[in-house]
Symmetry: C2
Subunit: 178 residues, 2 copies
């Protein structure tokens, strides 16, 4: 069965700071039409900084949509036209002050493919050197250091909920066979 849906009409319904919402009319595989709402997002990167002592440097950050402070790996949006690897180096330095001698791709994930085109490129950062963090003006981060195994346990227990952090930590755990 061909599952493809064809765009018949596309309208920008909302143009925002981070996201744009597109409201399309699409032709479905059975020939009928339906509204398809798409949140357009620039995509981003997330970096798991694994230090030589077996700890991970995380950031705690107020996440406005949930009204909660979450524990996440350092991450950020791609600048326009920016390569994911470049963004990974940049965000890691800005948020934590770390530079990595070794960055390994952990693949990418689609955060919410039903309605949003955000792709998050995941990296494992090793061989780390500490410099000074330079967070964005409107970004308030509290660093927190956790042993990798404790972080993995928190992820498995459902205490760490951020999807990119869950994906990166569990991928690293299985790929490194830790």
């Amino acid at each position: 069965m061909d599952l493809t849906e064809k765009t018949l009409e596309s309208t920008v319904a909302y143009e925002g700071v981070i996201v744009t919402v597109q409201r399309d009319r699409a032709e479905l595989p059975n020939g009928k039409t339906a509204v398809r709402e798409v949140v357009r997002h620039p995509g981003g990167v997330a970096v798991l900084p694994l230090c030589s002592d077996g700890t991970v440097l995380l950031v705690r950050q107020y996440r406005y949509p949930f009204g909660e402070v979450l524990t996440e790996i350092p991450a950020g949006k791609l600048d326009k036209g920016e390569e994911p690897l470049h963004a990974a180096v940049r965000e890691l330095r800005e948020e934590t002050g770390l530079t990595a001698g070794k960055l390994t791709s952990l693949g990418s994930v689609y955060a919410s493919p039903g309605f949003c085109d955000e792709e998050l490129h995941l990296y494992l950062a090793q061989d780390l050197h500490q410099g000074e963090a330079q967070p964005d003006e409107d970004e308030f981060l509290a660093p927190v250091r956790l042993p990798f195994q404790e972080l993995a346990e928190q992820v498995l227990a459902g205490e760490v909920k951020d999807a990119k952090t869950v994906a990166a930590v569990l991928k690293a755990k299985l790929l490194l066979n830790w």
Copy 2:
């Protein structure tokens, strides 16, 4: 440091079929104000149906935001006021025709907490019985069956990109020690 941001003003900027976009002015920890854009989403469930023969029943589905057919575990949005467990039973039945004798929570993940309040409740479904699938009118799904270990390998190799599928598969692999 108190990382909390206070809402000063809230406006609905877009009201759509699935999402609503809210554009707020918030007071930051340093007393300055910033725009906070929030995509409101009803949240959803995703269910990993692990059959007694060690295979998983997945669905292939055209994901309009990416223009790609993705392989995902069965999933869907919460109906208004619906309990996640109820939605898990409903979506599993609708999308695959399966009913589960045993549903185990794998916790929940926040798909994209920087700008969206979507929470996805993950479940492992076992002791499965086959009935007839009843997908929504505008939903076109192709079922696909994969051995769990092959699915886990595809996730680790970055071939399966859907974040909820990545999270559920790797959590199940580590929690079941498979």
